[in-house]
């Protein structure tokens, strides 16, 4: 092992570009020749939006933490169930959602 990378753990929202000084050494080897190699990947993003003329509220509030795909793949649920899910996003996962937008989001989801 030699010098580590200099790391700046930036907020995942990525407000700053991290300055990255990369050392040459990118492997650690242990007994039996087991070698672990440093990894850098590019995770794909999604620019998919909820479709439809009435999708403004859901697009403004529901894409911060996860992309649309999994929400669009949900089976149909009654309005109360969608209200419960949206409420869980706000109460449990701390989704920053304006209370005034909630009815439009629930309407959109319940109309499916």
């Amino acid at each position: 092992m030699t010098r580590a990378w200099i790391l700046l753990a930036i907020a995942a929202a990525g407000l700053a570009t991290p300055a990255l000084a990369v050392s040459d050494v990118t492997t650690v080897t242990g007994a039996g020749g087991v070698t672990l190699r440093s990894v850098t990947v590019d995770l794909p993003e999604s620019d998919r939006e909820f479709p439809g003329a009435d999708a403004a509220a859901i697009n403004n509030n529901c894409l911060t933490c996860h992309s649309a795909g999994m929400v669009l793949r949900q089976p149909p649920f009654p309005r109360e169930k969608w209200a419960e899910i949206v409420n869980k996003m706000i109460q449990t996962y701390k989704a920053p959602i304006d209370a005034a937008d909630v009815p439009a989001i629930v309407d959109y989801l319940a109309k499916r």
Binding site: A12, G32, V34, V39, E45, Y93
Partner: protein
């Protein structure tokens, strides 16, 4: 935390545009974007690093399902086809092995910070084990429930190599009165004050000598999306406990009162974790050990087979937290069962392949059922369970064919 990894930079990443770019294509040419048709269309993607062709359930944070045909190709699931499931999108895109550390702290005599070289120098264990999401097969629940709409592909079997968690805990010296360990990975929520993903295990379970801090999967380092560089392996238990990018172990002197153990991933404390839709007021417990399951893998629903000709069947079974004792197949709705031949035993926690040549079917629809009984005598039930989170499906599965 804060060593040996880097979070994504904005504006640098590839995009999966809708469903059509970067190899993500609808399987059926279904009307993507048209909400009503969306749910049951399968979308494939090859856009994820270190991953081959996968079913795309969600791009960010990734939910990638193993296409079912992979399970017919062998007893071990290749790393590049192994399912992926993350809760929060704060996933580091870079892990530096030279500076990555695992911290052990809390109710211990000697808090530790271990580098990967130190872990690689410790005694190792190795075994095969099935990693299965609590919600595997959720899309088959009736009535349907919310959550990732997996078919059977949120499971996989791998050979894991690592250090027993017990050895690391012993090195830190667990103090008397410890009741649990809580494990955390490098992943982080993307909004303030949200509950970071963490799971706990009872201290005796954590020290059973089998729970492993794994650094190899099928003879290679783990793909980043499966938890590189370290992943907790809790054999026989659902994947929610197999914390990825494991970087922090806290020994607790009281029970874990954080969200992901106390509130999420709970099941009804009833047989098969089953309740009636709408039922309330039942006791709940954290999801825990897995239960037996089995699948025919060489024929899928809708396949056409030759009438009157012997029918070669093969598939996979696993016993949950026990080995596989028997796999049986029924072609008459469960009235009679024929025992299948079990292939090589790869260990108690592994998939077990099986095969059987069934009698030639009569012309018309053929319904084949497959049932696993584990070494503790627990068999798959004939009736599907139901609970509001879609956890722990293990009903006998039926494959419907047409003989002509």
């Amino acid at each position: 935390m804060g060593h040996g990894y880097r979070f994504p930079m904005i504006g640098r990443r590839g995009f999966i545009a809708g469903a059509a770019a970067l190899g993500a294509l609808p399987a059926s040419g279904g009307a993507l974007g048209a909400l009503a048709h969306e749910t049951d269309d399968t979308v494939f993607t090859s856009a994820f690093p270190q991953k081959g062709r996968m079913i795309l359930q969600r791009t960010r944070p990734p939910l990638l399902e193993t296409p079912f045909e992979v399970f017919d190709q062998g007893v071990f699931t290749p790393n590049d086809r192994f399912f992926v499931r993350w809760h929060w999108a704060g996933i580091p895109e870079q892990v530096d092995v030279a500076s990555f550390t695992l911290t052990v702290h809390g109710h211990v005599d000697r808090p530790l910070t271990l580098g990967l070289a130190e872990l690689l120098a410790m005694p190792r264990i190795e075994y095969a084990a099935v990693n299965q999401c609590s919600g595997n097969s959720r899309s088959l629940f009736t009535p349907r429930v919310a959550g990732a709409q997996w078919r059977h592909g949120a499971m996989g079997n791998a050979r894991w190599v690592g250090v027993p968690l017990k050895a690391v805990l012993d090195r830190a010296g667990v103090k008397a009165g410890a009741v649990a360990i809580r494990a955390r990975g490098l992943d982080e929520p993307v909004v303030p004050d949200a509950p970071a993903f963490a799971k706990s295990l009872a201290i005796d379970h954590a020290r059973d000598g089998e729970v492993m801090i794994a650094f190899q999967m099928n003879g290679e380092q783990l793909p980043l999306l499966n938890g590189f560089p370290l992943r907790l392996v809790v054999p026989g238990w659902y994947s929610t406990y197999w914390v990825k990018m494991l970087c922090d172990i806290e020994v607790l002197a009281s029970t874990d009162d954080q969200y992901w153990t106390k509130v999420a991933y709970r099941i009804p404390d009833t047989p098969h974790a089953s309740v009636t839709p709408g039922e309330t007021g039942y006791a709940q417990v954290p999801i825990n050990r897995m239960v037996p399951r089995s699948f025919i893998t060489n024929l899928v629903d809708g396949a056409r087979v030759a009438a009157g000709k012997p029918l070669a069947l093969r598939g996979l079974a696993f016993g949950g937290d026990q080995g596989v004792a028997a796999v049986e197949v029924s072609a008459d709705g469960g009235a009679t069962w024929r025992r299948a031949n079990l292939d090589r035993d790869q260990g108690r926690y592994s998939f077990r392949q099986w095969h059987l040549t069934a009698a030639g079917p009569a012309t018309g629809p053929v319904r084949l059922m497959v049932r696993c009984t584990n070494t503790a005598g627990e068999a798959q039930p004939l009736e599907a369970n139901w609970n509001p989170n879609g956890f722990m499906r293990n009903v006998v599965e039926t494959t419907t064919l047409t003989a002509a």
